[in-house]
């Protein structure tokens, strides 16, 4: 029997989409291996999401009551549940939080780990994880040979499939232990915006937007699409927007369903961060810009005309 444990994630008390994505992925693995899917949710009042995860394939949902996120205590809680439930496969979101606690969990339970998986399949009773490597210039397939295998899974890489599991909630209270790192203060002023790394649509601007006063042009499009705002390094280095918006090798890696690049040339370091986007729209004055090599839909034109027209057109159809 090979059971699967998925570790869900919340934001502002709401279930994140990645939690459903990995529950569905876990269901597929469990069906192939003949096991059960347990979802773990940590936080306060998390029982109310048991049904949501049940509907996408969780047989049971373990809830652990806890306060704010801290990587060390979260690692103890997750490792505690792993030791109790003894799954052979554990799926964790490849998010800021997941990256912060998953390494500690792997060592605590003696598991091998493959991070940033975008594909999960089963071969010979083992999960094969596919991940982009060398800035997306190759893909690797890996198995974990230890009894417990952990995979962190890239947001937007797994389909959410409605498939009823029982979703029965049960509370657990593993030891959180003490954290050696204390959080003194938090500035989460960007917190309610759509998160770049997990966004399914991104509107991104580069040097072609000419100056910080022009972000509202892109933000208008982003708002109507419920998209996150991204930027090239040139725009960040010019001081037009904070580094947290930067996409690329020295910024965030993103894999949205749709990436709209406005006034971005498509340098290799930028492609390293967004090249795995499913659909890419490029709006650029220069028809020879390298971004057109990866674009699904290319518009050779002036972004100051095309973007507002696009916003108007979406307003018409999306209300």
């Amino acid at each position: 029997m090979s059971n699967v444990l998925i570790v869900g994630e919340l934001k502002n008390g709401e279930l994140k989409k990645i939690s459903k994505e990995i529950t569905s992925a876990g269901r597929k693995i469990a069906d192939a291996l003949g096991g059960k899917v347990t979802a773990l949710l940590i936080g306060s009042g998390v029982e109310k999401f048991a049904g949501d995860l049940g509907a996408v394939g969780a047989d049971s949902v373990v809830t652990v009551n806890a306060g704010d996120f801290n990587a060390e205590t979260w690692a103890n809680l997750v490792a505690g549940v792993i030791k109790e439930k003894n799954p052979s496969v554990v799926l964790v979101p490849h998010t800021s939080q997941g990256k912060d606690y998953s390494p500690r969990v792997a060592v605590k339970v003696g598991a091998g780990i493959i991070a940033d998986a975008v594909g999960l399949s089963v071969d010979g009773g083992k999960v094969v994880a596919k991940k982009p490597i060398y800035s997306g210039k190759a893909y690797g397939n890996f198995k974990v040979t230890s009894p417990i295998a952990i995979f962190t899974v890239r947001p937007n890489s797994q389909e959410v499939v409605q498939k009823a599991g029982a979703g029965a909630a049960e509370a657990a209270s593993p030891s959180a232990g003490d954290a050696k790192v204390k959080i003194v203060s938090s500035d989460l002023s960007g917190g309610n915006k759509v998160q770049l790394a997990e966004a399914s649509i991104i509107v991104s601007g580069g040097r072609g937007i000419k100056g910080p006063e022009n972000w509202p042009i892109l933000q208008g499009l982003a708002d109507i699409l419920g998209a996150a705002l991204g930027a090239s390094r040139a725009a960040v280095d010019a001081g037009w927007i904070s580094h947290s918006h930067q996409v690329g090798q020295t910024g965030k890696t993103v894999s949205p369903n749709c990436y709209i690049a406005c006034g971005i040339s498509g340098a290799i370091q930028h492609l390293a961060g967004m090249g795995s986007s499913k659909y890419i729209v490029a709006i650029n004055k220069d028809g020879d810009a390298p971004i057109f090599k990866v674009a699904t839909y290319g518009v050779v034109g002036d972004l100051f005309e095309v973007v507002p027209a696009l916003t108007d057109e979406f307003k018409k159809v999306l209300g």
């Binding site: 792997a106 060592v107 780990i113 800035s135 210039k137 893909y139 890996f142 003194v184 729209v281």
Partner: protein, 253 residues
């Protein structure tokens, strides 16, 4: 203060990658220090300049990694250590971390700094696994760091913003862009670095940990959905076509 900085050697971003069966074809590859590890080296040097002590640059891999260690010497590292692993699988984070943790334990290091991720594997695992292996604190995605005596204060990037955190030594740190501006090695440093000794350790010296990863195979990236340039008379025409394509063809909006 004993500071270990982790230096991973990776293919230059602009290098073409040719996929072999279980690893890439290394012929013709230009190797560089993973960019985030340059922030780690710089931070280590700054901490030493302020607090005294020594900076030990550690790299894991075959002999070619000595070139990266010489660069760390040229920037100002005091010692350089190669953990000599000839069949190095750059995605085997648990094995890498166990070797480094065992080295750090023997050295009784106070601080371990590495990049927030290496650009060949994007795993964001090794440094924090080293912290867990040593049973010490970690601060990931650090954008500022102050150490005085044994107290550590840092600002780290988190989802939606930043946090100020505190802990005490020993600590492991992952460097995010913004932490500092790495210095360039100067010519004198580069010349001197050529003559400096590189210590080597073998896995046998460091507990001989076992790998928990099997490489099934490498493949080229999946083909992209074929693209096309749209044709229209004006901005409105482009907008109409794009909306139609994204809603009816791609079905992503």
């Amino acid at each position: 203060m004993k500071i270990i900085v982790l230096v991973k050697q990776v293919p230059d971003t602009e290098t073409n990658i040719k996929v072999g069966d279980k690893s890439i074809n290394e012929a013709g590859i230009k190797w560089i220090i993973s960019p985030y590890d340059e922030f780690a080296i710089e931070e280590g040097l700054r901490l030493r300049e302020k607090n005294g002590g020594e900076v030990i640059a550690v790299s894991l891999g075959p002999d070619r990694v000595q070139e990266s260690l010489r660069q760390a010497y040229a920037m100002g590292a005091d010692r350089a250590v190669q953990i000599k692993v000839d069949n190095y699988v750059p995605f085997d984070t648990v094995l890498t971390a166990e070797l480094i943790a065992n080295f750090a334990k023997a050295e009784n290091a106070d601080i371990i700094i590495g990049g927030r991720q290496s650009i060949d594997s994007d795993s964001s695992q090794v440094v924090i696994q080293v912290a867990e292996g040593l049973g010490i604190a970690h601060i990931s995605f650090a954008v500022s760091l102050e150490i005085s005596g044994t107290s550590v204060k840092a600002t780290k990037e988190v989802e939606g913003g930043t946090q100020v955190v505190e802990t005490s030594l020993p600590v492991a740190i992952t460097a995010q862009k913004g932490l500092n501006e790495p210095r360039y090695p100067n010519l004198k440093g580069l010349m001197a670095a050529k003559k400096k000794p590189i210590e080597t350790k073998t896995p046998a010296d460091l507990g001989n940990p076992a790998s928990k990863i099997e490489v099934v195979g490498l493949e080229p990236p999946p083909p992209r959905i074929p693209g096309r340039k749209l044709e229209a008379a004006d901005a409105k025409g482009y907008a109409e076509q794009l909306v139609k394509a994204l809603r009816e063809e791609a079905k992503v909006i």
